[in-house]
């Protein structure tokens, strides 16, 4: 089973066919970075059209059982998430509305301070806000998973503690392997995984040691060490693949509407666009390379299978439904 814990491609029939070639049974896709509620609904509508146009390649994913149905019918189940709480605006009632529409992950902040939590690029992190505590409780109630991939350390550790249900860092790597602002320190990963949560390893070059030149061996040996440190059951892939996107999209991700100035995020003025992917992970067809690379570290087939998809499956199964029900 292969499940990717995060992608944001420039969606097309080509990408959906490559998902099939890569054997992807499920992908969590981002449908909001800075969008308001209404703009997010337009993004749900675009996906509804893709489901209507390509019923043999993809299907809407709402529950882990949809992954079984996708496997049986040779399709990829698409699960939705937000990288920012902007879709709920200031309205806690939208948590359940968006879950009903199919949202399954929501980051509490994206780089900046939000109404709920602090982002990883802020200089101060006062932790989870008043509204943030209420929203985490409501997300727990309906089955919308807290994702802290772009949040600051204190906010992340507090979210893991406040949440009654496991949370996720869908796409990031350990800071001590590659000290990027978006990668996570040991105490942060520990807080998430000790509470039953998940870490998805990212293949976005700015998150990789040696960036675009990162070797498959270095990436996979890092994962093997993290399995020893945090337990293999808490690890998956969250590729952060942004295939076929123009550079204007990475600018939108970074700047949205919040600034009049260019913010280079993890890039720089000299290198403002999407960095090239490593040669061994260009697109959805290359998940087999990671699987082989993990086997080459000496991990067992069961361990590799858990990281490639089994752990996400179990996590989806436990955390997408209403609290107190399987």
């Amino acid at each position: 089973m292969r499940i990717d814990g995060l992608q944001y491609a420039n969606w097309s029939e080509k990408v959906f066919r490559q998902m099939r070639e890569g054997g992807l049974d499920a992908v969590h896709v981002t449908i909001a970075y800075h969008e308001t509620f209404r703009e997010t609904v337009l993004n749900f509508e675009r996906w509804n059209r893709w489901f209507e146009l390509f019923p043999d390649l993809i299907m809407k994913g709402q529950w882990a059982s949809d992954i079984d149905r996708a496997r049986e019918t040779g399709r990829t189940a698409i699960f939705f998430g937000f990288q920012n709480p902007s879709p709920i605006e200031d309205d806690i009632g939208l948590v359940e509305i968006l879950h009903t529409l199919g949202a399954r992950f929501m980051q509490l902040s994206y780089n900046n301070q939000s109404l709920l939590a602090t982002g990883c690029y802020e200089s101060e992190d006062p932790g989870i806000t008043r509204m943030g505590r209420q929203v985490i409780e409501e997300m727990n109630r309906v089955g919308l998973v807290v994702d802290m991939s772009h949040s600051a350390d204190r906010s992340t550790i507090e979210a893991a503690d406040i949440s009654d249900r496991p949370i996720a860092i869908t796409h990031a790597n350990p800071y001590d392997w590659h000290p990027a602002l978006r990668n996570k320190r040991d105490d942060v990963i520990r807080a998430v995984t000790q509470n039953g949560g998940m870490l998805g390893f990212s293949l976005y070059p700015h998150h990789l040691k040696d960036k675009s030149d990162c070797s498959l061996q270095s990436f996979c040996e890092m994962i093997a060490r993290m399995a020893d440190r945090y337990g293999v059951a808490h690890l998956g892939i969250g590729s952060d693949l942004c295939q076929d996107q123009p550079d204007s999209v990475v600018e939108w991700m970074r700047v949205g509407r919040w600034s009049k100035e260019i913010d280079y995020g993890e890039g720089s003025a000299a290198n403002p666009g999407f960095p090239p992917q490593p040669a061994w992970f260009r697109d959805n067809r290359d998940f087999g390379n990671i699987e082989q690379g993990l086997r080459a570290t000496g991990m067992s087939a069961d361990e590799v299978g858990a990281i490639m998809g089994g752990n996400w499956y179990r996590f989806f199964e436990a955390n997408f439904g209403p609290q107190g029900r399987a």
Copy 2:
């Protein structure tokens, strides 16, 4: 089985308890008259809170099978509908979005001309619009039922013909029993029922012969005649009960934001508010009176059961899911 094809009460624990006392297994409730998409979502949110607050009395209804679940657990299943297409604004993609949120009926117009069809108070009725044809097709595809209760005659007959699936007049009476502008002429009812559609008989006094003084016998004998004329399988109740609403609400229904002047609708300057209900149908506890009144006309227990709920059940079962699936 008892199913009411339309209500718009001032919802409260009291009303929900009276639904249980009246043995209502399901009620189609209006959640939009003039609301935009975002305002309609706020109304879904209010219902989500009621479902959370009163889980022993009511539950969200999406499919006919939810009525079975409601009966087994002693609750009333609440199904949602709109009396106007205002919730989809000018965006056909919102048809599927709102169906996903739980909408199951949508009127194509409410008294006035809409983007889709003509209302029953307009002097000219040019029929279904260009967008209207597309929206009917999309409603057919996802399982959102076309309701023409407040539409004009030509638009209604055209909608019944254009629609691949049966349509409904959820709440109205025959014009030849009581010639109100909102009641329906024979050719209109025939177009709807001949295509497999449903007519729900209204208990709103302006739709009743002798209005608030209408007798139970007159109402039930009219239904028995209509069963002979159109076939008992196409008839149900759509009480239009607006219990506990202040008169400001009937003004909102009539005027919305479309006029700066007062429009009295079926009332008058001398009688602008909600008219008093007939003594034999004051609220949800009185559905038993209608059942007895129908038996008194000589209809069989099976026929009465079909009109009190069985027909709506079968209609819900056939028409709320995606086209081509049961």
